[in-house]
Symmetry: C2
Subunit: 341 residues, 2 copies
Amino acid sequence: MTEERIGSSPTLRDVAAEAGVSAATASRALNGSTRTVSAEKLALVLRAAEKLGYAPNLSAQATARGSTKTVALIVHDIADPYFSSIAAGAIEGAEAAGLTVTMAVTDRSPARELEIVSTLRGHRPHAIVLAGSRIGDEHDALAGELRAYEAAGGRVAVVSQPGLPYGTVAVDNRRAAGDLAAALVAHGYRRFAVLRGPDDLRTSRDRSEGFLAGLAQPGNAVVIEAGFTEEGGHAAMTELLGRGLDDIELVFAVNDVMAIGAMRALRDAGLVPGRDLAVAGFDDISAATDVAPALTTVRVPMRAMGLRAIDLVLAGGAENEVVWLPTTVVLRDSSPLRTGR
Amino acid sequence: MTEERIGSSPTLRDVAAEAGVSAATASRALNGSTRTVSAEKLALVLRAAEKLGYAPNLSAQATARGSTKTVALIVHDIADPYFSSIAAGAIEGAEAAGLTVTMAVTDRSPARELEIVSTLRGHRPHAIVLAGSRIGDEHDALAGELRAYEAAGGRVAVVSQPGLPYGTVAVDNRRAAGDLAAALVAHGYRRFAVLRGPDDLRTSRDRSEGFLAGLAQPGNAVVIEAGFTEEGGHAAMTELLGRGLDDIELVFAVNDVMAIGAMRALRDAGLVPGRDLAVAGFDDISAATDVAPALTTVRVPMRAMGLRAIDLVLAGGAENEVVWLPTTVVLRDSSPLRTGR
DNA sequence: ATAATCTCGGAAAACGTATTCCATCACCTA
DNA sequence: TAGGTGATGGAATACGTTTTCCGAGATTAT
């Protein structure tokens, strides 16, 4: 005998009517308001809400309150384990705080990135987390969009790109790559190739420069640029093999997916990674343990990075606080100890 | 000399005022309305919007229109390559249609799943896509929530769980697993172990039952249940080894991450996957190609599944249309041809 | 020339909620 | 007992849009 309107959700007014109270009281009862409501009416409202299957319209709440309960996460490619791990951490942190995460992927296109941030402004998310962006300087369009967003009260956090005027969580890519280089030199390696990503990718640049700086004689390395993907690593390694530089002992790819692509290229050429040519990567994605030989790399706490980025925007601390997370060099079978020459 | 209110975005009224027109005209000018507005005023409004850096408040739009431009995607674990690939496809499809994707992860907890759908209803998303859920029957709470959501005009699509009264995109897990079993039998294998996930996971059940049914003598297989994760695969394989069933020739894990975990357990025990014990998985995640030996598996078009799920909810075709996507058995080095006994 | 239609602009109402005022009532203090 | 104070409920308004409705010109058909 209850007459529910078909085709639409029950509204706060419906609940109020059912409970025999005003909309204001219903509103106060159903969410954390400063105002108190009598136990009697509270029970009435809760019962009515339950009976009608009421779910507050979050859009309406957002316009009334002027703020939303969502945070936007921007990644290059969600299928890339690096980003999906960061996303997992971010989602975990956000859900713990009662926020929902909206996600957008840039496909590594700066134009797309700009477009995304621009439409995102319309969503008025509580915060925007940029994972692996390539914001240039203060003068480009993206920086402008972000400034506008911040001016309107939004929070911004950046993952893995220190030096921008936002809360940042990062690892010291340069130093870690240097540590890796030093460890490999200590393992007996002398002649290197570096497979790096596009030059405008801060992460790629830091890692490749840090690695070169960590070598005893930096001159001894050939550098090849390629896409920041497994395909890119494959292509770069193929090119390297084509050049016929037989004296190279170890190939360092600036991230694990590239390194794994490079290993595949080696196998395609009939070579055995680790034996014929050593390989090292960066990130320690879970696949790094599973490939054979297991990949020497630098462990980056990706999940923690996502989590801390959320902390950062929620804590609302200093504007451009930088959280540095520790890394570990992990040597595995893809770079066996090199005895003798 | 322009006086912009600090601390908040320009509103439609601001734009209208700046352009010297009414709010109604500004609204009509700035979005695809049925009504036309004169070229002159249109230019004025566009110029004003540009000047002020106007971005429409999507929450307000949503409450006014009564519908949002978002679709919600629910996955078990975004760091799992199976789900992150589906997510990549879904995001691609959604962005192409001008929708934003909000994401939630259940961590494989039915309680969490219910909670998520319930809060999601508040967002009034255009559609909800459930990837890898475990909705039981029509009587449980989750089904109830979904019914309420649909009654209010929302669309639901399900990935990989046919038989529910929603648009579905799936692969025929049972048949594909049977095909894989047949191919392995043809390769000379006779004695099998199956590492499967929790029994209430439809996907796991279909794959393990299909595999057993595809064997010549189904009796010849031992079945071990474990978590649907790499850790689960590792644990299951460790248990299997502990049982000392030396006559087993091939271990089939119901998904690739479990299979990869199983391979790791083999190596931990000093055995060589593929030589001492063959392994096969299911899904063909990209890591399957990169492990050594490369993993025999069934290719599932995960990205396409995400994409088609979005198509399904956008097309608005038949309520419970099922889209079947093709699979391919791919035999790799982890299950070498078995010659003689 | 007049009626009928079309085009376009703006005022105002609507969407579903939060919140600001009032008003009422009970209780406490002096 | 009078005035003050605190708790509680409701009416009304605000949030930033979209959309309905109305009216005024302009255009077309007769």
